[in-house]
């Protein structure tokens, strides 16, 4: 346990060191009387490629230069320097902030961002430059995902040091936020993680005692899983050696929610450890729709278009299951939601479907 705690502190020092060295680099250039210039990996689409070894998108060798000499660069350059300073402050003082908060905080320094998007981009630049995720700088998006199950965590946030919490203590689940993601993972009786696309099914699973019956940690993704949730799933997998299963709707969108947890997104190609390559998509598959005779809706045009896109996506080439299910969706031209199992009674999905799927 002490080792894990030391690891968290070490990570924080690394982050602070990265930010400071960026500051020192600019400072020294200015001090020598030259316009500060920095290089960082390019995030343009032609520099993003799927790496089948690390099983996620990564950035190529191309880099871009940002110079304060350039009239078009100087504003984002200044914003970047500000963001680094602000993040340094947050991390050092162990305070947290949100992307929205960043946008407003900048105004105190007369560093106005045109809009939220602009400030988000600058934070992404900072991630690219330092190689750390914004969560490492204590900048978080608005939370909407939750976890429930027999896991005891030890807080590291100021004021809670030494306190512990068992994640079964609140029946709505515990919000996956900065306090949780920065905690030590101390003890668990669970032997698997089940990530669920929708909050409704997550609640049903808690009510049906799935966490006990299947010795599982349940996670509600709230649609597309936020980055800190994906990162936390990775930690659960890596630090506790738990296999990860993902349950989504039976349509291309649900399929992709699972895929992003497994392989990551192109948008986060500049970052590592946000994905869990060993996680498994357990359903709802197109073949489940047939096998369980689930009530369905027809596929829309956009659904079909999306399926063709996914068919070509490099992330869908690893496991034959993807291609097989895509073809089947295209053949039956139907989709089904997770709730469709309710036609067999409220507990069917837990008592029958889940055990079968987990066995596979």
């Amino acid at each position: 346990m002490a080792q894990k705690k030391a690891k968290i502190i070490e990570k924080r020092n690394e982050v602070i060191g990265g930010l400071r060295s960026f500051g020192t680099q600019i400072y020294n250039q200015l001090d020598q009387g030259v316009f500060p210039t920095i290089d960082m990996p390019s995030r343009s689409t032609d520099n993003i490629a799927y790496d089948s070894v690390v099983r996620q998108y990564i950035l190529g060798d191309k880099s871009v230069s940002r110079s304060a000499r350039n009239i078009r660069h100087i504003k984002p350059f200044t914003q970047l320097a500000w963001a680094a300073m602000f993040s340094n402050e947050l991390t050092t003082q162990r305070k947290t902030s949100t992307l929205r908060d960043v946008y407003y905080s900048a105004q105190a320094y007369e560093m106005t961002f045109t809009d939220q998007q602009e400030s988000n981009n600058i934070i992404t630049d900072l991630e690219t430059l330092t190689g750390f995720a914004r969560e490492d700088f204590n900048i978080f998006p608005e939370e909407r995902s939750a976890i429930f199950g027999d896991l005891t965590i030890g807080y590291t946030v100021p004021g809670y040091e030494g306190k512990t919490l068992n994640l079964t203590s609140h029946p709505d689940g515990v919000l996956i936020g900065p306090a949780l993601t920065s905690s030590e993972l101390m003890e668990t009786k669970a032997n698997k993680v089940i990530a669920i696309e929708k909050g409704a099914l997550f609640t049903r699973f808690i009510e049906e005692n799935v966490h006990n019956k299947h010795k599982a940690l349940l996670i509600s993704c709230g649609g597309q899983a936020p980055r800190q949730t994906r990162s936390f799933i990775r930690r659960l997998h890596d630090e506790l050696n738990l296999p990860v299963y993902i349950l989504t709707d039976g349509d291309p969108w649900g399929m992709h929610i699972a895929q992003v947890i497994i392989s990551g997104s192109a948008n986060a190609a500049h970052l590592r450890d946000l994905n869990t390559p060993d996680a498994v998509w357990s359903g709802v598959w197109a073949s489940d729709i047939i096998e369980y005779k689930l009530p369905t809706d027809p596929l829309d045009d956009v659904d079909i278009k999306r399926l063709y896109e996914l068919q070509k996506d490099p992330r869908y080439q690893n496991d034959p299951i993807w291609q097989k299910e895509i073809k089947l969706f295209l053949k039956i031209k139907r989709k089904a939601e997770q709730e469709a199992f309710s036609r067999y009674g409220l507990t069917y999905i837990v008592d029958e479907y889940l055990p079968t799927k987990l066995k596979n």
Partner: protein
């Protein structure tokens, strides 16, 4: 059966019946026209002597006339040449009598204006006019006059002579007329302002019926060269003019007739023209008569094609030309291609300096460029186009260009859309010059000519003649080009300022943030970097 009756009417009677064509259309227009005609006469009178004009105009309220009109007394004083006493009654009391029937550039052309004003005053108020004038001699003459409209003769009601103690020179005219000043006021004020613009060497003072004083002070005492009188150019001649010249000519051969009465016709041109129109015959001492199409010219002398000796020439006496010959002569004068173009000494353009001074003083623009074209001609009449573009400063922003039109230093205030300059300006591809109508831009067009090509007797707009159109288009392109340079320079300066502003906004912040981030105490000095941006900025352009 009713018999048609015929009667002769006098010139003054004609204009009395047709006062519209001289601009006295209605009570508001009439009051404007009266002021304008007298002011222009005064300007001409001062300019002809190269005296910087001082003109004082006072319009005072006399009484109500009708529901919409009032009686006003108009007084105009100048420091011009003055009028010799024997001409004073006719100059103001006889229509079509005047000093302007010679060929040189003057403001009026009909010799009508002053008299029309007096005539109009008389028919609306039946009051006499007072004229005081002195040419700078020992005596000042005052007249009280009316016009006998049917006979076109002045009636002298009173005549006084005073001793010129103060060495005064000039003319004062005072008479009453009916008019509508309130409606005419905007045009009258425009008129004074624009007159001041093209007469920057004049002092103009106007006191209106409410006692308000409008003063336009001269910006310079430099004046343009007064125009010289000139002979008619062959291209501008008609049969009537030829017949008049033949009646008065002292010459008894065609060569002298042509060189003596026409502009830019010398012996050689006359000879060549006479050969061209077969009005000359030659004889050789050895070979007798030579036809004019066989004559040879050596060093511009006629020689016999057979022996090379000088040939004797003979021409008709112009007084013996038949009517048919006169018509043919007129046609040939127009047909012959080799007359020299008229020279511009009979013109008195403002010149670029004076135009600039005038526009500067009245509009006070941020940027001003003027252009004077070389003299050109239409139908034998020389003319010069002067053009100015004023940008920003006191130039109003109207959503369209403000156009100031002038002819022989007179502002043209009516019928702008019919004027050739309006068409030229509208036809311009302004986008090419990075100019748009919503910019504060004023365009000043001045055309001067011995015969301004007015479209109507009202003298309010210039006819669309190809020669005039071409000159105006060239002039406006030239000034537009220079305006474009100015605008892009200004844009560049603006961009540069903005650029520097960005650097000086952000560089100190970068310095501050990086100092904090690096945990340093001292903020790096960025002044050198800021200076280098300024220098590079200039180079990059």
């Amino acid at each position: 059966m009713a018999q048609a009756t015929f009667e002769e009417i006098s010139a003054s009677d004609f204009f009395y019946r047709n006062r519209d064509i001289a601009g006295f259309t209605n009570p508001s227009r009439a009051i404007f026209a009266a002021i304008r005609e007298l002011v222009e006469n005064s300007l001409d009178a001062a300019e002809s002597q190269k005296i910087p004009p001082n003109i004082y105009v006072r319009l005072s309220f006399e009484g109500e006339a009708t529901k919409d009109t009032q009686i006003y007394k108009l007084r105009v004083e100048d420091n011009g040449s003055g009028i010799q006493p024997r001409f004073i009654p006719s100059a103001f009391g006889q229509v079509l009598f005047g000093s302007k029937y010679k060929l040189k550039q003057t403001r009026g052309t009909f010799g009508l204006g002053g008299k029309m004003a007096v005539l109009y005053g008389q028919i609306t108020t039946h009051q006499p006019a007072f004229v005081v004038s002195c040419t700078g001699q020992a005596k000042i003459y005052s007249f009280k006059l009316m016009i006998d409209i049917q006979r076109n003769r002045p009636i002298i009601l009173d005549r006084k002579v005073q001793i010129n103690k103060d060495n005064w020179r000039g003319t004062i005219v005072e008479f009453s007329l009916e008019g509508d000043y309130l409606r005419a006021m905007p045009k009258i004020l425009d008129y004074f302002k624009q007159t001041a613009m093209v007469n920057p060497y004049a002092n103009l003072t106007f006191v209106d019926p409410k006692g308000r004083l409008y003063k336009f002070t001269r910006a310079t005492t430099d004046m343009p060269e007064p125009p010289k009188e000139t002979l008619p150019h062959p291209y501008g001649v008609d049969v009537e003019l030829l017949q008049r010249l033949i009646q008065i000519t002292p010459y008894n051969n065609m060569t002298d007739f042509l060189t003596g009465h026409f502009h830019r016709v010398g012996d050689v041109t006359a000879l060549k023209f006479l050969i061209f129109s077969d009005l000359i015959s030659f004889t050789c001492a050895n070979h007798g008569k030579i036809l004019s199409d066989q004559i040879k010219l050596v060093d511009n002398r006629p020689v016999c094609p057979q022996c090379g000796k000088d040939a004797q020439s003979s021409t008709k006496n112009p007084k013996r030309l038949s009517h048919e010959e006169i018509v043919r002569l007129m046609q040939n004068l127009k047909k012959y291609k080799d007359f020299l173009p008229p020279d511009a000494s009979c013109l008195s353009p403002l010149g670029e300096e004076l135009l600039k001074a005038g526009v500067q003083k009245e509009l006070n623009p941020e940027y001003l460029v003027v252009n004077q074209r070389k003299p050109s001609t239409y139908a034998g009449h020389p003319f010069i186009v002067e053009m100015a573009i004023a940008y920003g400063g006191g130039v109003p922003k109207r959503g369209s260009f403000v156009i100031y039109r002038f002819a022989n230093k007179i502002p043209l205030l009516y019928d702008e859309a019919s004027d050739v300059s309006y068409r030229v300006i509208s036809a311009m591809n302004w986008r090419r010059y990075k100019v748009s109508p919503d910019m504060p831009i004023a365009i000043v067009v001045h055309i001067c000519s011995t015969k301004v090509p007015y479209k109507t007797v009202g003298k309010e707009f210039i006819a669309d003649r190809p020669e005039v159109r071409r000159e105006e288009a060239n002039a406006i392109r030239e000034v537009a080009r220079q305006l474009q340079h100015f605008l892009s320079r200004q844009e560049h300066v603006h961009m540069e300022k903005k650029r520097l502003g960005i650097f000086s906004k952000y560089l100190p912040k970068i310095a501050q943030f990086s100092t904090t981030l690096a945990g340093q105490e001292r903020v790096p000095d960025i002044d050198k970097l800021l200076k280098s941006v300024q220098k590079y900025g200039a180079e990059e352009s």
